[in-house]
């Protein structure tokens, strides 16, 4: 079921703001990732502006929902979203990668308000959310835990070790979101072309299903699909849920979309200007 048009327009506007902040911050830092962050914008916005039970003024609230960005290299998207949601001033996003900044190159829960788990070594962020979900059950708390994984990241065995244990213990207060953009960092040649490189992983929904998870597939850039998928995931009983969100790496900037070269490339001043213009003029994503 589509969501109401007015809140949807608001979410779309947020998504444009997040994308602009990502590009501006990476440009200013002269370092960081671009493709993965642009891929996850709608997911982050849906989470922090619609789905999560959180209090930006009290980031350590014990009963808050947890959201773990396991694909930690994309954290600039999360910082931008957290800032817009009021966890810290938006200007602070521009200290990304600067010395002594709270905006680290990979998430650091000891530094940044709103970060529920440190991450950055792919796969290692998959298991702590299972621990959070198990702790909620043990402590009689009703918070929900979300773990956001990259599609390259799920090549790590640890993800599947987590998937097994989560279904073994029927952990239905845990939802995984796979950012399924079909591109990783260097990847594999597509159709024998060494310079076009993709993540060839296939049957992603089937894999999670085979591990005993309830799987929902959706367009990860369409709020009308994403938000109902998140809401459905929370209602599933007796097993964990996995949202396989079809996304586009570099989404929103024509010359970045789907290109592995933009995984961690810093836009030049001209590229930045062109990208910002596209985002401002563009048909709203989501």
């Amino acid at each position: 079921m589509p969501i109401d048009p007015a809140p949807k327009r608001d979410l779309q506007a947020r998504a444009v703001q997040v994308r602009k902040l990502i590009l501006q911050a990476v440009h200013k830092a002269g370092a960081g990732h671009v493709g993965g962050p642009l891929s996850m914008v709608e997911i982050a916005v849906a989470m922090y502006f619609k789905i999560l039970r959180i209090d930006p003024k009290n980031p350590q609230w014990p009963d808050r929902d947890r959201y773990v960005l396991s694909k930690g290299h994309s954290c600039i998207a999360l910082y931008a979203t957290l800032a817009l949601r009021g966890f810290f001033p938006v200007e602070e996003v521009f200290t990304y990668d600067a010395m002594n900044s709270r905006m680290q190159g990979h998430p650091d829960m000891t530094k940044t308000p709103g970060i529920d788990m440190s991450s950055g070594s792919l796969g290692t962020g998959a298991s702590p959310p299972l621990g959070m979900a198990l702790a909620a059950k043990r402590l009689g708390k009703d918070f929900h835990t979300w773990v956001h994984l990259g599609d390259g990241e799920i090549q790590e065995g640890q993800v599947w070790e987590m998937a097994f244990v989560a279904s073994q213990y029927q952990v239905d207060n845990l939802t995984a979101i796979v950012d399924y953009n079909k591109v990783q960092q260097f990847g594999f040649p597509k159709d024998g072309n060494l310079r076009r490189r993709v993540n060839p992983l296939v049957q992603v929904p089937e894999k999670w299903r085979a591990f005993g998870w309830h799987v929902i597939e959706c367009d990860g850039h369409d709020f009308d699909a994403l938000i109902p998928a998140c809401e459905e995931a929370k209602t599933i009983k007796g097993r964990p849920a996995c949202i396989v969100a079809h996304t586009i790496k570099g989404k929103g900037v024509s010359f970045m979309e789907g290109d592995y070269n933009w995984h961690a490339k810093v836009p030049s001043p001209e590229e930045l200007a062109k990208a910002l213009a596209e985002l401002e003029a563009g048909v709203p994503v989501g």
Binding site: Y96, D97, M99, Q104, G105, S121, L122, E153, Q155
Partner: protein, 313 residues
């Protein structure tokens, strides 16, 4: 000004060169080819390259199997992942059976292009040095890096090469000859002996100039091979001055300082100071500011030398 060259590029080019002479060579990549420069092989000699995906533990085991069947696998990933993520696979299937697997630990030390604490490995030397049968080499510059790649490829058994990301000064001439094992005297001096390893040796060399301008004569020795450590060479260099400073872009626990202390403590105890990262993790930041905050600049090395001399007096 010394010429600046990226060691990772040298590693990639040397790998490509080796594909012409070593038909059994195989570069295995942990999906970082465009960071580690394994892409040089991926694009130009694709038969010698395989992306093992974002799955380091499997990659290590695959390398063990390949080596057992006669290939020479070079694993290529960040130092932080090679030294940590696949450590159990490394010890059980590579170092215990002494298999011929080579590890290219890229982005070592604190200068990792602002990636921060997860990617800054302060402990790789300590971990790898503690594995029996492992050879550990940290070249000072691109000239030495190239020769170390050639030497490690032709040496039987497991080896780890510590490679840095950003362009660093070339301190050796083309006539330099690297060998696995021996320490390398860089500069003669009489007041204290400084041992450096990896790119920190170049910073120590600058520190020697700073010290010289204050009338202090430092004897600088580069230690490219952290394991097996050149015990005789270290004792001889320490005896020259009777005071020892070690400096490294690594934790002060278990790295070069540890290796030198293990030797001197047992064979020639002299007043000694270990300089490096003060048992802390890293963070994101620009290179100059990182070196300053974490105390690895030539100025910091010189200060450590002076502290040692004052203490020893």
């Amino acid at each position: 000004m010394a010429k600046l060259i990226e060691m990772r590029a040298t590693w990639g080019e040397t790998m490509l060169e080796l594909t012409k002479t070593h038909p059994n060579l195989m570069v295995l990549d942990g999906d970082l080819g465009n960071s580690t420069m394994a892409q040089i092989v991926a694009y130009n000699a694709p038969d010698f390259y395989m992306n093992m995906g974002i799955a380091e533990q499997n990659m290590m085991g695959v390398a063990a199997g390949m080596a057992s069947a006669g290939l020479i696998p070079w694993l290529s990933s960040f130092a932080c992942f090679l030294a940590n993520r696949d450590l159990d696979q490394l010890r059980v299937t590579v170092t215990q059976p002494k298999l011929n697997v080579k590890l290219a630990g890229h982005y070592s030390g604190i200068l990792t292009g602002k990636t921060g604490k997860t990617h800054i490995d302060v402990e790789d030397i300590a971990i790898l040095r503690a594995l029996p049968h492992m050879t550990v080499v940290a070249p000072a510059d691109s000239v030495e890096c190239r020769q170390a790649v050639l030497a490690l490829t032709d040496m039987p058994g497991p080896a780890y090469l510590r490679i840095t990301r950003d362009a660093s000064p070339v301190i050796f001439g083309e006539d330099y000859r690297f060998a696995i094992g021996p320490v390398v005297p860089i500069r003669e001096g009489k007041d204290l002996t400084i041992f450096g390893t990896g790119v920190q040796t170049a910073r120590a060399l600058e520190a020697c100039d700073l010290l010289a301008s204050e009338g202090i004569s430092a004897h600088l020795v580069h230690v490219p091979t952290l394991k097996p450590i050149d015990g005789n060479g270290i004792v001889a260099a320490a005896r020259k001055t009777g005071r020892v400073l070690t400096t490294e872009d690594h934790n002060i626990i278990g790295g070069l300082g540890g290796a030198v202390a293990e030797v001197l403590g047992q064979h020639a105890p002299f007043p000694m100071k270990i300089h490096g990262l003060q048992d802390c993790y890293g963070e994101s930041g620009p290179n100059d500011a990182m070196l300053e905050k974490y105390g690895l600049t030539p100025k910091h090395v010189a200060l450590a030398a002076k502290a040692l001399l004052n203490k020893a007096r």
